[in-house]
Every structure is written in structure tokens, then in C-alpha cells.
């Protein structure tokens, strides 16, 4: 009797780390940070173990949507320098594996978040995964230059989910935290696409810089920065805000608007001459902008606890 299995030992095979890469750990770190802040600044007390579990399941949900994105986008990831080494286009993970991991982790994270905290938070997480995987990845990304604007909503939900995990509700504070990330996303990504244009052109992704040109993208960056500023500052006037947040937010928004004004004022010739220095600086500033806003919220939560108790 013979019972043999033929294995091609030289075929590319996934290591554990490849499955971790499928979950987009860098995006996950932003999800963990903003969800944790959303939970921390919410009124009431959440036991540290529950808070840890909730943030973990929110992060897994975010990772699951990342895996679904990598499954669906493998064809265009193969064409872009930045993404061609990802596990699916590189052949280390099969598309079926990525799809299965994404679907299983989606269901798992939503059910576990519901059991550990409440079903409002779980429903928001489910909607976020659906929004990122279906609305953004499958529909908007390849069909409209506004892909970044609407798709940005998916990245903006985590603090709202964190808040809902602690309180079981949606409130003006959590909506403003959502708006802070939602309105920040377009200027952040368009600044990147100003100097990464070639990649998107090659893949046929209708980035604003590809469809309407860089001039329009520069103007849109300023427009969104101007809408973002009042929303960001308004958060400081709610129960989670205070003097520290307001001071930080005003300074950061002045710097952000100033950076956007500089970008609008530059021609392509000027940008190419100094290799997009101002655009790269604005992109780095955008990362700091969001990070410091959420740090300021954390500081405020600490101050409120000290004063209150």
C-alpha cells in the first residue's frame, strides 16, 4: 500500500510573518492607537483587561479588512513598486489563503468584541470592515478619484469604536474624532501621491493626481485642510477637550494650513527642482499632526482624572 504526498519543497511557502504582513501591521498600529485613545477619553471606567481585549479585537478587525484588501488588490499591487513585495503578489501566500484569513478574522473579531464589550461597538467594527473591504477596495478605489476621501472613513472609525466599546453609544465627541481622521486623510494621501504619482499611473488607480492633475490635487489639499481645522478645534470645546488640546490643535492647524498654502503656491517645475521637498515635509507633518492631536486628547483625559478625582 502506498500513501504519498508530493510536495514541491522549493515552492515559495508562507512563513508566520507573511500572515502578519497580510494584516497590515503599520495601519494596525494607527488603529490600535486611535481606538485606545477613543476608549481612554470616554466617560466611565473600563477595566484594563477589558480595554486590552477590546483594542486587540478592534485591531484584528482592522487587520482582517487589510487581508481582504490584499486579496482583492493583488493584481494592482503587482504593478506598484511600493506593494509588489506583499505576500500575495509575491506568491508566498495564495489569494485563497488571504481571503479565508480575512473572512475568518472578520467574523471572529466582531463576535469577540460584541461579547467582551457591547454590540454597538461590534456593529461599528463590522461596518468598518465592510466599508474598507467592499465600499473602498472593491468599488471606489478603482472607479473614482474621490476614492481616498470616502475610503478614509474606514480609517476614521476606530476611535468611534473605542468610544462605543466604553460607553455603548455614539456621541458628538466620537463623531468629531471620526471627522478629525476622515478630513485629515485626503490631504495626507494626496501629498503622498504628488510624489508617488508614477506608481498609481502604472496600476491605473484613478488617484486625483492622475485623473485631474497635480494642480487640482494641490488646491484640494488646501481645501480639505481648511475644512479640517474647525472640526479639529471644535473637538477641544467638547467634554474631552480643554486648554491643552485647544492650544495644541490651534498650533498644529496653523502649521498644517501654512504647509498647504505653500504646496498650492508651488509649480511642478519648482517641486521637481527640489525633489518635492515641501510635499514630503507636508506629508511628514500630517503624520505628526494626527499623532499629536490624539496625544493631546490623552493628556486632557489625564488632567480631567486628576482634577475630577
Amino acid at each position: 500500500m502506498t500513501d504519498t504526498t508530493t510536495i514541491n519543497a522549493n515552492a515559495p511557502e508562507a512563513r508566520f510573518g507573511d500572515y502578519v504582513v497580510l494584516l497590515k501591521p503599520r495601519v494596525m498600529s494607527l488603529v490600535v492607537f486611535t481606538a485606545a485613545v477613543g476608549m481612554l477619553v470616554a466617560p466611565g471606567h473600563v477595566h484594563p483587561v477589558i480595554a486590552f481585549a477590546a483594542v486587540l479585537f478592534i485591531a484584528i478587525g482592522g487587520g482582517a479588512s487589510g487581508a481582504l484588501n490584499m486579496w482583492y488588490d493583488a493584481d494592482i499591487d503587482r504593478l506598484m513598486r511600493r506593494t509588489r513585495a506583499r505576500p500575495v503578489p509575491d506568491g508566498r501566500v495564495t489569494p485563497g489563503e488571504a481571503l479565508a484569513l480575512g473572512l475568518w478574522l472578520s467574523g471572529f473579531s466582531v463576535v469577540m468584541l460584541g461579547l467582551v464589550t457591547n454590540w454597538v461597538a461590534a456593529a461599528l467594527l463590522a461596518f468598518t470592515i465592510f466599508f474598507y473591504a467592499v465600499v473602498y477596495t472593491m468599488w471606489l478605489k478603482r472607479s473614482t478619484p474621490q476614492n481616498i476621501v470616502i475610503g478614509g472613513a474606514a480609517g476614521a472609525f476606530p476611535p468611534m469604536i473605542g468610544w462605543a466599546a466604553a460607553t455603548g453609544t455614539i456621541s458628538v465627541e466620537s463623531v468629531l474624532m471620526f471627522l478629525l481622521i476622515f478630513l485629515w486623510t485626503p490631504p495626507h494621501f494626496w501629498a503622498l501621491s504628488l510624489y508617488m504619482n508614477d506608481d498609481y499611473t502604472r496600476a491605473g488607480v484613478p488617484m486625483l493626481t492622475v485623473t485631474h492633475g497635480r494642480r487640482t490635487a494641490r488646491r484640494q489639499i488646501l481645501a480639505y485642510t481648511l475644512i479640517l481645522a474647525p472640526a479639529a478645534i471644535a473637538l477641544g470645546l467638547t467634554s474631552v477637550g480643554g486648554a491643552v488640546y485647544l492650544a495644541a490643535s490651534i498650533v498644529l492647524n496653523l502649521a498644517f494650513v501654512a504647509g498647504a498654502v505653500q504646496i498650492v503656491g508651488r509649480t511642478e517645475a519648482e517641486a521637481e527642482a527640489d525633489r518635492y521637498r515641501a510635499e514630503r515635509r507636508f506629508f511628514r507633518l500630517s503624520l505628526l499632526y494626527l499623532f499629536l492631536h490624539f496625544v493631546a486628547l490623552m493628556v486632557e483625559a489625564g488632567v480631567h482624572r486628576l482634577v475630577g478625582g
Binding site: A9, E13, A14, R15, F16, I50, A53
Partner: protein, 62 residues
């Protein structure tokens, strides 16, 4: 038979298996910790649906 010899393939897969094992172990510990916290904080201790509250004997469970 020749099955005793370990191929390099097995070593590569060992890393994956250990990773999955550690994740499952961590998940069991987390569920246990969450259960303990929920019981201690009384979040999930509800009166049994079939026993009316007033008939619960005083001092029960002490």
C-alpha cells in the same frame, strides 16, 4: 523507513506551527482573564430568568 529524516521544509513549517500554538494559548488566557474580570465586576451575573427575584432566599450564595 526513510521517513525519519527531517527535511528543511519541516523546520520552515515549525515556525508557523509554534506561532499558531502561541496565539491559541494567548487567546485561551485572554478569554479566561476576561471571564474572571466580568464575574468579579458582576457585569454578567444576572438573576436566573426562571427564578423570580423575591423567591431567592436571603443569604443565598454566602
Amino acid at each position: 523507513m526513510g521517513l525519519a529524516k527531517e527535511h528543511e521544509l519541516h523546520r520552515r513549517r515549525a515556525g508557523r506551527n509554534i506561532g499558531v500554538g502561541l496565539l491559541l494559548g494567548g487567546f485561551v488566557l485572554l478569554v479566561f482573564a476576561v471571564t474572571v474580570v466580568k464575574l468579579v465586576e458582576g457585569q454578567d451575573i444576572r438573576p436566573h430568568p426562571t427564578i423570580p427575584l423575591e423567591t431567592t432566599p436571603k443569604g443565598a450564595g454566602q
